[in-house]
């Protein structure tokens, strides 16, 4: 039988999926074991026990200095920044994207500048951002917003242009004005697609958040990683990186669920 026709059954699928994770864990344990045998204080590849202890310390014990459970505090602080920023970019992307995609005039005016601006490396803009927004949360949110919005706007504009011209014509033959078309035809069709686009921007958003928190912060997951990087505390960094990965994964999952539940018509329309 051809390799491409061999379909593993359910049990095999699970086993095969687990394999690489298992291999990674074993590889880590071996590497860590070798280094720790040479230098028991080695910080680069800490043992799982050391990491568990660090997690316990950060997540389950209040920090004596501030009385806070640092890991939860960091998570809360990062998530609130991230979600605020994503909410802002999503809103901007929806409005501007629909404008650019629907109105030829707006498309001609803003299409090119958005295309060019989306090529600017946002990290390089940080100093300017700090001056304008101050060192507080404003600058961090702005960085994420700048880093993700332009892509989202372009995505949205393309999606709007993907709406079959027939539908827009049809709406006009039903007497709809431009505003009514935007509100009742384009907007509701964009919402589920926007979720797809936002899902793709979760990764970049974390990246920018971490970069911003590295520069000026007093809490946050990125702040902690960069702070403890000062003394190579990989026993903290590794669990934090895993935790960020889990959070990103959960956000992705939540968006997929939202899409399925809130837009029951979309699955059918997409495959059609």
């Amino acid at each position: 039988m051809r390799l491409l026709n061999i379909k593993p059954d359910r049990a095999w699928t699970v086993a095969l999926a687990a394999l690489p994770f298992f291999a990674l864990i074993v590889a880590y344990m071996v590497g860590s074991g070798i280094r720790l045998a040479e230098n028991p204080n080695d910080k680069l590849l800490p043992s799982f026990t050391a990491m568990a202890e660090a997690v316990k310390h950060y997540a389950l014990e209040a920090d004596p200095r501030s009385g806070l459970y640092l890991m939860w505090n960091d998570t809360l602080s990062s998530l609130s920044l991230l979600l605020t920023a994503l909410a802002i970019s999503t809103f901007i992307a929806l409005v501007v994207g629909i404008l650019i995609g629907l109105l030829p005039i707006a498309g001609a005016t803003f299409g090119p500048v958005v295309a060019v601006a989306s090529m600017v490396p946002p990290l390089a803009l940080l100093p300017i951002l700090f001056i304008i927004m101050g060192l507080g949360d404003g600058a961090k949110i702005s960085l994420i917003v700048i880093g993700t919005t332009l892509k989202l706007v372009r995505d949205m504009a393309l999606r709007v242009k993907d709406i079959p011209a027939e539908l827009l014509i049809k709406a006009q033959t039903l007497g709809a004005s431009t505003w009514q078309i935007a509100l009742r035809v384009v907007l509701p069709q964009m919402l589920p697609r926007l979720i797809d686009s936002v899902r793709l921007e979760i990764g970049p958003a974390w990246l920018f958040l971490i970069a911003a928190e590295a520069i000026a912060a007093d809490s946050g997951l990125g702040y902690r990683i960069f702070l403890v990087r000062r003394y190579l505390a990989m026993d903290v960094i590794i669990p934090y990186v895993i935790w960020i990965t889990v959070l990103a994964f959960l956000m992705d999952l939540a968006l997929r669920l939202l899409q399925r539940k809130a837009f029951p018509w979309f699955a059918g329309a997409r495959t059609a």
Binding site: N39, N41, K43, F130, I131, G134, R230
Partner: protein, 331 residues
């Protein structure tokens, strides 16, 4: 393990941009490094880092044999990370290079209640702690906000930043603003922030030639810095300033330009007490390792073989051998 280790021939040194370490870049560019490496039949790769912390991490993880850092970071990162580290060259101490700057205020005591931007757990943090002590304040009287050194200058331009602790040349950039006042600097705690070139103890023990070459390179470069105009120009340029700017930085750096000066400081009586202050600070900040029970958890050995802290856990050693050899002209 040193017994069965094959004789090492290739060595790697990491350095980062700071006035007291600029000579390493010059030495590498002008062939001084190669000259001394050849003399001992070894190779030395000198690598510049943009990011100071990364250079230390690389050294701690074993990717480099030697690195430039401060005594405080030597204790909190490699030493606390179990890497037995030897200070081969004591290059200088900060004598005003690190400063606390307030916006629109000219008394240190005015810092009370302000948010202070600094690189957390760095020498700036230490300088702040010492400064607060001097005016009977504690860290809880201010709010510390971790801010990257690369962005300190632009951060100062923003309205909500009113107090920063940082080092030169950032200090010079910030002081260009008319409202910036340096209210405290490291010249008030001389000899406590020491800039070192450290090497892995095991490596220098097994390869004394490496230590000798490093000392040879350093002091030849010191001579050129004092005598050759191009040397200073080169270093000024590499640190992104001009000769005047570089001179301004040198002025606040107590550079030991001869091995004898360095020896005098390293073997002096003061150094022990100053290191003790640093160790206390690090212990307060829980930077001596999770299991550290006191500031004495890590032993620091001085040239006279006396030890501060745990004698069974000596991880940082001030070793005068190579500076001595340089002073004696035995390289």
């Amino acid at each position: 393990p040193s017994a069965e280790a094959a004789p090492k021939k290739d060595f790697k040194v990491a350095w980062s941009i700071y006035v007291g370490w600029m000579p390493w870049g010059y030495a590498a560019d002008t062939g001084i490094v190669k000259k001394w490496a050849d003399k001992y039949g070894i190779t030395i790769e000198v690598k510049q880092f943009n990011d100071y912390v990364e250079s230390i991490n690389q050294y701690t993880a074993g990717a480099f044999d030697a690195v430039t850092l401060t005594n405080m970071d030597a204790l909190s990162i490699p030493a606390a990370g179990g890497v037995d580290t030897t200070a081969v060259i004591v290059g200088d101490y900060s004598n005003g290079n690190d400063a606390i700057i307030l916006k629109g205020k000219d008394k240190l005591a005015d810092i009370k209640g302000q948010t202070v931007n600094l690189v957390e757990f760095s020498v700036s943090h230490y300088l702040l702690a010492r400064a607060l002590e001097s005016v009977k304040l504690a860290e809880k009287d201010v709010k510390v906000l971790n801010t990257s050194d690369a962005d300190m200058a632009s951060a100062y331009k923003t309205a909500d930043v009113t107090a920063v602790v940082t080092w030169k040349p950032i200090v010079s950039t910030i002081l260009e603003s008319p409202d910036a006042k340096a209210v405290y600097d490291s010249s008030q705690i001389p000899g406590e922030i020491i800039d070192l070139l450290v090497a892995n103890t095991e490596v220098v023990k097994d390869n004394p030639d490496f230590g000798k070459a490093l000392a040879g390179i350093w002091y030849e470069t010191m001579t050129e810095l004092a005598s050759k105009k191009e040397a200073k120009e080169h270093m000024a340029k590499a640190s992104g300033t001009d000769v005047a700017g570089f001179d301004e930085q040198l002025k606040t750096t107590k550079l030991f330009s001869t091995p004898a000066d360095a020896l005098a400081f390293t073997s002096g009586a003061d150094i022990k007490g100053k290191n003790e202050l640093v160790a206390k600070f690090l212990f307060d900040k829980a930077l001596l390792g999770k299991d550290a029970k006191s500031a004495e958890a890590i032993g620091i050995e001085f040239p006279d073989k006396s030890v501060f802290g745990d004698k069974a856990n000596v991880k940082l050693r001030y070793d005068a051998t190579f500076m001595q050899a340089a002073a004696d002209g035995k390289l």
